[in-house]
């Protein structure tokens, strides 16, 4: 499977702590994206990182990409209760029409 896989499957932290989620994939990608999903409904795009990039920031989010290890990480700093959601990585492989999603990490931020 070319599917990205997130780790851990579930994560529970206290408000104010940092949360780190990881994504691994099997085949060389063109770009990797992270999405958030609240309450099992629509997904919201968070950040996209291209294969020639190593790190990107957006507000409290930091994404890294290590193409040699075929892995990416999403760091949420100073977490808030509102960050409670499922987080998915999605990979696009050149020549593919599909953006392939992993099964997600369920993050719970306890107030």
């Amino acid at each position: 499977s070319q599917q990205g896989e997130e780790d851990p499957q579930a994560l529970s932290i206290q408000e104010g702590e940092n949360a780190t989620m990881n994504c691994s994939y099997k085949t060389s990608i063109n770009n990797l994206q992270w999405y958030r999903q609240n309450s099992g409904r629509g997904l919201v795009h968070l950040i996209l990182i291209r294969s020639n990039e190593r790190e990107k920031h957006s507000g409290r989010l930091r994404v890294t990409l290590d193409t040699s290890k075929k892995s990416s990480s999403l760091l949420i700093t100073a977490s808030r209760a509102a960050d409670t959601a499922s987080y998915f990585c999605a990979c696009w492989w050149a020549g593919s029409y599909q953006l392939t999603f992993g099964k997600g990490t369920k993050l719970s931020v306890i107030p």
């Binding site: 994206q33 099992g40 795009h45 593919s96 029409y97 599909q98 953006l99 999603f101």
Partner: protein, 117 residues
């Protein structure tokens, strides 16, 4: 501006009946995608439209599933003779760029929760 909208938000049907799910993408978005998400699972790709054509239908699980897109805008996903295993949330997304380009952020609708009794 308006985001991606889907209707109905919830659909309960009996096994064997046909259902139609609708997606209104963001105006100007040429690419449209359908996904299925079963409880607690990731997204399963179903079909991709570029304009009115579907270059990739590889994710449709059986010939009971079909989709069309008209006028480069609204898309309808039809499931014939529904089965209990079809129960899931069906998500639609659209993007400005198609997957052949380097940037393809997808904007998702709220989904249709389908329950087949």
């Amino acid at each position: 501006g308006a985001g991606v909208s889907q209707s109905p938000s919830n659909k309960v049907t009996e096994k064997g009946k046909d259902v139609e799910l609708r997606c209104d993408p963001i105006s100007g978005h040429t690419a449209l995608y359908w996904y299925r998400q079963s409880l607690g699972q990731g997204l399963e790709f179903l079909i991709y439209f570029q304009g009115n054509s579907a270059p990739d239908k590889s994710g449709l699980p059986s010939d009971r599933f079909s989709a069309e897109r008209t006028g480069g805008s609204v898309s309808t996903l039809t499931i014939q003779r529904t089965q209990q295993e079809d129960s899931a949330v069906y998500l639609c997304a659209s993007s400005l760029a198609w997957l052949g380009e380097t940037y393809n952020e997808q904007f998702f609708g709220p989904g249709t929760r389908l329950t087949v009794l």
